[in-house]
């Protein structure tokens, strides 16, 4: 019914939509989600053939086919006829969308032009949208936001169009009204092809069966809605979902690092992506089908950072770990929950190469780890349980924080000092000379914790193993440290393997929780 192929739109020099393609059949709803400015509304205007009216020096390439008509090839008069009858839109800005000088009844009537049975149709739709009939002669300013929104929806649906574009139909509405509107849209949009343009993830979840994630005018991920929200594969999709409040998720909100920027070459997201590699800045990734959904990513979506396969460990006759399988993806926090003695720390130490495993394999970025060498430790770092003892009492803060670089022989002393100062400020510690010359026993537990985290970050690892990192801290300091870890994860795409016995804490910090009991992960 609706077919968009290689759609490119430009406002002047700036390319807004970049080769978008998708198809929509009768009865289907597709959500297009993305941050502000990614080109959602432009897509809406393009489908209505209104790009030329939005901006004069605009250009549209590609094909938009509605019921056999190519929108881009129609002249103004044909387009006008097509609008409302075949394709309609619910505008984003409720205040300006209605004419303040005429009643809402008349405004709906305008859509119908000179059709017969106008009154019956209007009354019909007003009933469907649950609008009080005695208020049909009200002026827009006499109505509430929700009521005005309903009128806009009525206008879009009254002439029974085949394609309806909903541009943020519920923004600025309260939850109750929003839910009512969603129910109405759901009822009205049967047998229609609906494009829902929104940044409201909960609405996309409720209304659509497929979701398209738009970034920088490019489709980065396109999949079934349920699948996408449960398991987003593109780093941007995950970032977007993570930043949206959802009562079923207990982890704190996280944003996406950096800001949306116009990128000329390469993947539009590479500057903000935490797993970008060289090619990402050079070549634009193609939208390819992987496991039933489409993803545009050179790395095939979020990469599995570390994979443990059938890890077993016995201490004498005591079995600690029995064939553990666990995969950690880039930028996610996985908590290993278990009682004391369940083998949590043993598992962490096996990952750090401090305890030898009896059997099983470890893969780092899909490569088997054969030796725990300097290269491995550049990517995997650990924060030990008893943090104070993990600092040498002889060394000053600066030397402690710089030690990983000294060991790995990276940079000159000056560069190392500079880096140490930068990382210290990242963990919200002072980098003044007097502080750098302190000894660890002069610092508080919270400061020590930050020092240890800073030290672990010096090598810019991709995985941080945190073994009960806050067990010795009071609640308020703990909260700060956890927030800090969360922010670092947002900025660096750090994967965190969090080890704790505290369920509430685990819920608060992690994307996934695995339970370790009797040597088995569940």
């Amino acid at each position: 019914m609706l077919k968009v192929e290689n759609l490119v739109t430009r406002y002047g020099e700036k390319r807004i939509l970049n080769k978008m393609s998708f198809k929509l059949d009768k009865g289907e709803t597709i959500s297009v989600i993305g941050e502000s400015g990614t080109g959602k509304s432009t897509l809406g205007f393009a489908v209505l053939g209104m790009i030329g009216e939005v901006s004069e020096n605009s250009k549209v390439e590609g094909k938009i086919e509605i019921d056999g008509f190519d929108i881009n090839k129609l002249d103004k008069e044909d387009l006008r006829k097509l609008r409302w009858k075949k394709v309609s839109i619910v505008m984003q800005n409720i205040d300006d969308a209605l004419n303040p000088t005429i009643t809402v009844y008349k405004q709906i009537e305008e859509v119908l032009d000179k059709q017969e049975n106008r009154n019956k149709k209007i009354i019909d739709i007003l009933k469907k949208i649950d609008f009080p009939l005695n208020r049909k002669d009200a002026y827009p300013h006499q109505l509430s936001m929700g009521e005005r929104q309903k009128i806009l929806i009525a206008m879009a649906f009254i002439s029974n169009p085949e394609v309806v574009v909903l541009d943020e139909p519920t923004s600025s509405l309260d939850t109750e009204t929003k839910n009512k509107i969603i129910a109405i849209i759901k009822k009205l949009s049967e047998n229609k092809a609906v494009i829902l343009l929104t940044h409201d993830i909960s609405m996309a979840k409720k209304l659509s069966n497929r979701t398209l994630v738009l970034y920088g005018g490019t489709t980065v991920e396109y999949a079934e809605t349920k699948k996408l929200f449960k398991n987003p594969r593109h780093p941007y999709s995950r970032g977007l979902i993570r930043s949206y409040p959802d009562s079923s998720r207990t982890k704190d909100l996280q944003g996406i690092r950096g800001r949306a920027e116009f990128v000329k070459t390469g993947c539009p997201f590479y500057k903000r992506c935490t797993q970008a590699i060289d090619i990402c800045s050079i070549k634009k990734p193609k939208l390819l089908k992987r496991n039933g959904s489409f993803i545009a990513c050179h790395r095939g979506g979020i990469i599995p950072l570390i994979k443990m396969e059938k890890i077993s460990k016995n201490f004498g006759k005591l079995q600690i770990l029995n064939s553990i399988n666990l995969t950690l993806f880039e930028g996610e926090t996985v908590t290993i929950l278990g009682k004391s003695g369940a083998g949590k720390t043993t598992l962490a130490k096996i990952l750090m190469g401090l305890v030898e495993k009896d059997s099983g394999n470890i893969y780092l970025e899909n490569k088997e780890v054969k030796r725990f060498d300097a290269e491995y430790y550049k990517k995997v770092q650990m924060v030990f349980q008893d943090t104070r003892s993990s600092l040498s009492h002889r060394m000053k803060i600066l030397d402690i924080v710089m030690e990983p670089l000294v060991v790995q022989d990276i940079g000159t002393r000056q560069q190392r000092t500079g880096k140490a100062k930068k990382v210290l400020s990242e963990v919200q510690l002072p980098s003044s000379r007097s502080f750098l010359n302190e000894y660890p026993h002069h610092l508080s537990g919270g400061e020590i914790q930050r020092i240890v985290i800073a030290r672990a970050l010096m090598l810019e690892p991709k995985l941080l193993i945190a073994d009960e990192p806050t067990s010795a801290l009071d609640a308020s300091v703990q909260a700060k440290i956890l927030k800090l870890l969360n922010n670092i994860q947002e900025n660096r795409g750090l994967a965190i393997l969090f080890i704790t016995h505290d369920l509430d804490l685990a819920k608060k910090v992690s994307d996934r929780i695995v339970k370790l009991e009797n040597g088995i992960i569940s």
Partner: protein, 277 residues
């Protein structure tokens, strides 16, 4: 672990005494020879009781006993420092490597240490010394070769415990190799124990050197406190012998006592449980 050494010393009278005595010894050893007569100078003025010009009298060859005492103290101190350092160094190398490398190397090394522990060092040194009639340098080497084993065992034990300390494990998780961990973490952390080991080895060396010289197993042409006392014994029928025996004896006792006091102080600093004892 950060303890103000100054405050500790201030509180500990014995340690203060020890440090003062050691300082005096060092001063005498360094500047003494400028002030006193030539201890090798013969004269016909022999077997004298103390007079002006010869504070402690003269010996059977007419040499000034006081000058010989000063030079003797110098020799004792030289033995103490050199043998103390050398035996501690051997003990450190063997102890840390055994503890750190572990495995077969550790087992072999510890059996060697055990062997050295059961061989009575004094008798062995006496046998060798009786044959070699050693000068100071040979004696230092000889003492060092038979005096590292106790320290090695203590250092090994400490290395074993340090090796699994969190901050050392941490440095391994940055990719540190064994030499780095050993040189940058383990040996500096052993610091206090090495100092104690040095002091006790030095003390033992002084005592051993004096003892060997006293019973005559040394090159008698050299000067040391033990040799002065050894010579005194030959003239026990004359009144002068007491002046040859007692001052070196007192000097020897003082230095041994001082070193013991200092050693105890540092031991207390290392082990907090001893502090109030």
């Amino acid at each position: 672990m950060h303890i103000s050494l100054k405050n500790r010393i201030k509180k500990d009278k014995k340690a203060k005494f020890g440090i003062i005595i050691v300082c005096v010894f060092v001063l005498i050893s360094v500047f003494g020879p400028i002030l006193v007569k030539d201890p090798y100078h013969f004269s016909i003025d022999y077997l004298r009781l103390p007079v002006a010009g010869h504070i402690l009298g003269t010996n059977d060859l007419g040499q000034d006993v006081f000058a010989r005492l000063v030079y003797g103290m110098r020799a004792s101190l030289l033995v103490a420092i050199s043998a103390g350092f050398l035996s501690t160094a051997i003990g450190t190398i063997i102890g840390t490597l055994s503890g750190f490398i572990g495995g077969a190397f550790d087992k072999v090394m510890m059996r060697i240490v055990d062997a050295f522990l059961v061989i009575p060092a004094i008798i062995f040194i006496m046998l060798v010394a009786a044959f070699l009639k050693p000068g100071i340098m040979t004696l230092i080497i000889l003492i060092s070769l038979f005096h590292w084993q106790g320290g090695a065992k203590i250092i090994r034990g400490q290395t074993l415990s340090l090796k699994n300390k969190n901050h050392i494990v941490s440095s391994r998780t940055f990719g540190a190799k064994k030499p780095y961990v050993l040189m940058r973490h383990i040996i500096p952390d052993l610091g206090n124990i090495l100092v104690v080991s040095f002091i006790y080895n030095a003390r033992a060396a002084i005592f051993l050197e004096a003892g060997l010289a006293f019973i005559g197993i040394a090159n008698l042409s050299t000067i040391s406190l033990g040799i002065i006392m050894h010579n005194a014994m030959k003239f026990y029928y004359l009144p002068v012998w007491i002046w040859w025996l007692v001052p070196p004896g007192i000097a020897l006792s003082l230095i041994l006592l001082s070193l013991t006091f200092i050693g105890t102080l540092i031991e207390k600093i290392i082990d907090p449980r001893l502090r109030n004892a």
